[in-house]
Symmetry: C2
Subunit: 384 residues, 2 copies
C-alpha cells in the first residue's frame, strides 16, 4: 500500500450561494485545489455529497462534475455516508492512489442546501437517521441529538451552560477564517440566551447549514519531493460504523464507531493521542464535540465539558479543536464538511492558519461523523 | 496491487417485493453471498444504490446495512453512479482489498423501486440525466434513449425490427434464470407489436424496473486456494466517464466511455476482445446493446444489429450476451444491476449457468452503464 499525500487544497466560502449552481460551487473548489497543486488534471475524481438527489434532482455527481471541470473520460464516482460523505470520498480517493490504480485523485466534497425551505431541509437531513424506526416516529435530526444531550446532562450532572466554551471557541476561531459562514464573536451570555431549537439544544449549540465545496488533490507521497510543496501525508485513515438508530445502542452516550476508527487510525499512524497537535472534530451539535473527545481518548467518560471549561480546546490549549471555526461557525454543508476538515487540517500543517495557527503543529486529526455517530471516519495527517 | 477474487455470490429474485423492506432485500443477497463463500463476516461493506433517498427516504445505506446484517463496527459506505452504482461499488471494494486495507469486502447492489408510482419512478430515474439542461426540458430517461435510437436508425439505415434479436435472446435466456423478473418467451411478432413507450422505443426495447439485490464477497486471490472454491479472479476493472448530457457529445452514437473503460480493462487483463467468451452488457434499452457492442470492438460502427440478426449473441454464438436474461428480462433494479451482472458472470465461469451455459467459458466481461453512457464501468473476470 503506497503512502499518499495531499498536494493541493481548495474551498469556497460557505454561504447562501444563490448565484452559483451545484456544478459551479463544486467547480470553484476543484479548480482551486488543482491550482494550489500546480496541476491541470487528475486521473480520477471522487465526489462526497449527501443531498443532491433530494435538493437538486441530480444524481451521478461523478460524471456530472468530471464533465463540468474538464476531466474528460476520467473515472468519477459519488460516495455517500450522510454527513460523513466528505471523509468517505477521501477514503475512496486514498484507496485508488494507495492501490496504484491511479497516480492522482481529486476529491471534492460538495453540498448545495439553501435552495429549499427549512422544512424540506429538515426532512432531507432526517434521511441520515433510520427511516423505518426513527424518522417514522416524527423525530428530526436535531431532535435525536437533543435526546442524547439531555441524557448526557442527566447522567453526568452537567448544566447546559457548561457546553458554552465549545461554541464560543468555534465562533472565535471562525473570525479569522474568510471561508467561514459565520463571523460573529459570541459570549456565554449570548450562548445562554439563544433561541431554543429542541431542548436542550439551542441555536448556539447547532451548526448552520450552507452551500459549499472543499477539495484536495491526492498523489503518491513519493512524488511530492519532486515539487516545491511541503509534504502533508495521510498517515492514518479508518472508518467504522455503529447502529444507525440510537435506540439500538447499548450506550447511547458512547460513540463506539468514533472510538474504533480513531484507535485504528492511531495504530496505522503509529502515534498516541498525546501526539495529536490539534483535532478538527465534527461539532454538528456541541454535545457531539464532547462525545468525540471522550471516544477518541482526550477526556474520560463524562468529563468532556471540562476540556472546554479549562480552556484546553483553544488554539494554544492542550488539544485545540475546530481551529478554523468547526461545523458550528465555519458552517456545515453536510456532504462537504469532511473535506473542509481536511482542507483546514492541511492549512494548520502548512502553517497557514493565520491568527488561529496551532503553534508548531505537525500532526493533525480530522473526524467526520455521519448520522448520530453511525458512520465515523478518522484521518490523521502529518507534515514532514 | 494485490490480485482480487470473488469467493461468494448471492442474489434475490427481481420482483415487486412489497413483502420485503429495503433492508430485508439487501440482507437476503448479502447473507447468500456470505453463505456461498462459507464465511460469516467481512472486513468492509460497499453498497451500490441510486434511489433510496428519493424512494425510501433513507440515506447512509452503508451503516444502515452493516447494522442490519451484523457487520458490527465495520467500515461501510454507499457508492452512487446512477445505473452504474453496482459496478462502482464493486470497484470501491476491489480497491480496498487490492490496496491491502482489508482482507475481505462484501459488495451489495440494492434497489427497491416498486413502492412508488410510475410517475415518481420516471422522475427519480431522470436524476441520472442532467437536471439543468436535459430534465429541465421535460425529457425523460427513456426519451433520451429514444432520441439516440432514432438517430442511429436514421444514420445507419436500420429498421426497428432489426433490433428484435436482442430482446428475444434476453427473454429466451431469462427462461432458465429463476432470479429473473420476466419468464416470457417472445417472438419477432411480439416485439414488433409491443406498445410504444417513446418512439421508436417500445415496451420490448425497454428493461423492466424491479426490487432486487445482488452481492459478492471479495478476498485476495491468494486466499482462495486455501478454500474449496474455484478461483474467479477480477483481472480487469476500469471506469470512465463521458459528458452527462447527450447534446454535449461530439458523436451521440458512440459510447466513448464504454470504449475507454473496455480498452483499459482489456489492457489490465492482458486479453483481446476475441478472448472474451461472453459479455454481460447493459441492455437498459436495445439500442444500448448495439452501442456497447460497437464501442467494445465486437462490431464495426453502425453494424451492431447484424450480430443479433446473425445469431452471434446467443449462448452458443460468437459473442454471447445477456446470458441470464440481461436488464431486458432478468430486470433492471437500477443500483443493483451492476452486481447482478457480476453474479451472473461468476455463474457462467463456475459452469453454473444451467441451459444458457456458454460452453467452456473461462473469461467473461460485464459492463455497467450509468445515465446515457455518462459513467461506464467494465470488469473482466477469469476462471482458473
Amino acid at each position: 500500500m503506497r503512502q499518499v499525500a495531499i498536494l493541493g487544497i481548495g474551498q469556497t466560502k460557505i454561504d447562501e450561494h444563490w448565484e452559483l449552481s451545484l456544478r459551479e460551487i463544486g467547480g470553484v473548489a476543484a479548480f482551486a485545489a488543482m491550482q494550489d497543486a500546480g496541476v491541470d488534471n487528475a486521473d480520477a475524481l471522487f465526489v462526497g455529497n449527501m443531498l443532491s438527489p433530494l435538493i437538486s434532482g441530480q444524481n451521478q455527481l461523478g460524471a456530472f462534475f468530471s464533465d463540468w471541470i474538464g476531466l474528460w473520460q476520467k473515472e468519477s464516482v459519488k460516495v455517500e455516508a450522510a454527513c460523513a460523505s466528505g471523509g468517505a470520498a477521501l477514503r475512496a480517493g486514498l484507496m485508488a492512489v494507495a492501490a496504484g490504480d491511479v497516480e492522482s485523485a481529486l476529491v471534492v466534497g460538495i453540498e448545495k442546501m439553501t435552495d429549499k425551505s427549512g422544512h424540506d431541509i429538515t426532512a432531507a437531513l432526517a434521511t441520515a437517521a433510520d427511516a423505518d424506526y426513527e424518522v417514522e416516529q416524527g423525530v428530526s435530526f436535531v431532535g435525536l441529538n437533543a435526546l442524547i444531550m439531555r441524557r448526557y446532562m442527566h447522567e453526568y450532572g452537567w448544566k447546559h451552560a457548561d457546553f458554552a466554551p465549545f461554541s464560543i471557541n468555534a465562533h472565535a476561531n471562525a473570525m479569522h477564517n474568510p471561508f467561514a459562514r459565520l463571523h460573529e464573536k459570541i459570549t456565554v451570555k449570548d450562548y445562554v440566551a439563544a433561541r431554543m431549537v429542541a431542548e436542550p439544544i439551542n441555536l448556539l449549540d447547532a451548526s448552520p447549514i450552507g452551500d459549499g465545496a472543499a477539495a484536495a488533490l491526492l498523489v503518491p507521497a513519493s512524488l511530492i519531493p519532486l515539487t516545491n510543496h511541503r509534504v502533508i501525508r495521510i498517515i492514518g485513515s479508518a472508518s467504522a460504523t455503529d447502529t444507525i438508530a440510537i435506540h439500538s445502542r447499548k450506550d447511547p452516550l458512547w460513540l463506539s464507531a468514533a472510538e474504533k476508527s480513531a484507535r485504528k487510525a492511531y495504530n496505522q499512524a503509529g502515534v498516541t493521542r498525546d501526539e495529536i497537535d490539534f483535532f478538527e472534530l465534527h461539532d454538528a451539535f456541541s454535545i457531539m464535540s464532547v462525545l468525540s473527545l471522550e471516544a477518541c481518548g482526550f477526556a474520560a467518560r463524562g468529563e468532556g465539558p471540562r476540556l472546554g471549561l479549562e480552556g484546553k480546546i483553544d488554539p494554544d490549549g492542550k488539544i485545540p479543536i475546530t481551529t478554523r471555526g468547526g461545523l458550528k461557525a465555519r458552517g456545515h454543508p453536510v456532504g462537504a464538511t469532511g473535506m473542509y476538515q481536511i482542507v483546514e487540517t492541511v492549512q494548520q500543517l502548512r502553517g497557514d492558519a493565520d491568527l488561529t495557527q496551532v503553534p508548531g503543529a505537525r500532526i493533525g486529526m480530522a473526524q467526520n461523523i455521519g448520522g448520530s455517530g453511525a458512520t465515523v471516519i478518522t484521518h490523521i495527517l502529518k507534515a514532514s
